[in-house]
């Protein structure tokens, strides 16, 4: 059975990265922007996994496991911050955060 070439994974990850970047730039809702960041993180993860397929020491796979953990931590903290921002401004659109001082 033939295996899947590495280049296919790289194409998918390039697509995911571009989509995440577009979401990051396009949307004004903070939760939407966070979802775009998650897509970018996962595109990087897919690259690491695809290349570690050919690496006997598997360093890319280990790094991607730690990237997963850091991504979850980032999401938890970021949503807590979004909650506080909503309490202060009553809005979570990125263009509505203005200093009151």
């Amino acid at each position: 059975m033939t295996d899947i070439p590495v280049i296919y994974f790289l194409w998918v990850s390039a697509f995911l990265f571009a989509t995440g970047l577009s979401i990051l730039l396009l949307k004004k809702n903070t939760i939407f922007v966070l979802m775009g960041i998650e897509l970018i993180l996962n595109a990087a993860n897919l690259n690491l996994v695809a290349f570690s397929k050919n690496d006997p020491s598997l360093q890319g796979l280990y790094l991607s496991i730690f990237v997963l953990v850091v991504g979850v931590c980032e999401m938890a903290i970021a949503l807590a911050i979004v909650l506080q921002v909503y309490r202060n401004y009553r809005a979570i659109e990125v263009d509505q955060f203005k200093s009151e001082y």
């Binding site: 998650e38 496991i65 997963l68």
Partner: protein, 168 residues
């Protein structure tokens, strides 16, 4: 076409299609649902890349954890329209042309780079499941970073609950 490549194509189509619908929709809840489908497809792609440990962890973490967090975020920050009494899940966005063209140019650039790169095509394309190696490595060679990741996760969760409580 081998069945493996066919499975890859289906999963890649699921991942890319739902990512695109995330980009397209303005409804926050639809985007969360599309993100769920993207994560499912990505877990399948990880399985096809012989990273089954990571696929299971990814499913547990993203579908079980991050998506629930996002849904709670949506529910806790929604704004009820005082006139009609309906919830606003539709989000605003900036002009579509510039962000999408930036994303498209990034995609085309990366596509060109990956396709033209001479360092990619001569890689061997065989593999097998790395479950045993990863399990051994996480408990021997990478035991310290593994423990550190656990402590980091604990710190992040305590910090998140501290930040999210009301500071009146």
């Amino acid at each position: 076409m081998s069945p493996l490549v066919l499975a890859f194509l289906v999963l890649a189509l699921l991942t890319c299609g739902s990512a695109l619908s995330m980009l397209w929709t303005k409804n926050l809840l639809h985007a969360a649902l599309a993100m769920f489908l993207t994560m499912l497809g990505l877990a399948g792609l990880y399985v096809l890349a012989y990273a089954d440990v990571l696929a299971v962890a990814h499913l547990l973490v993203y579908v079980g954890g991050v998506l629930i967090l996002i849904l709670f975020g949506i529910m806790l920050t929604n704004q009820t329209d005082p006139a009609t009494g309906k919830n606003h899940l539709m989000t605003r966005e900036s002009a579509r042309l510039l962000p999408i063209s930036i994303g498209l140019s990034f995609f085309l650039g990366l596509f060109w780079l990956f396709t033209k790169g001479p360092w990619i095509h001569n890689l061997p394309v065989t593999g097998e499941s790395k479950l045993r190696e990863v399990g051994l490595g996480l408990l021997t060679e990478y035991a310290f970073p593994f423990e550190l990741a656990g402590v980091f996760l604990l710190i992040a969760l305590i910090g998140a609950t501290f930040v999210a409580k009301s500071h009146d």
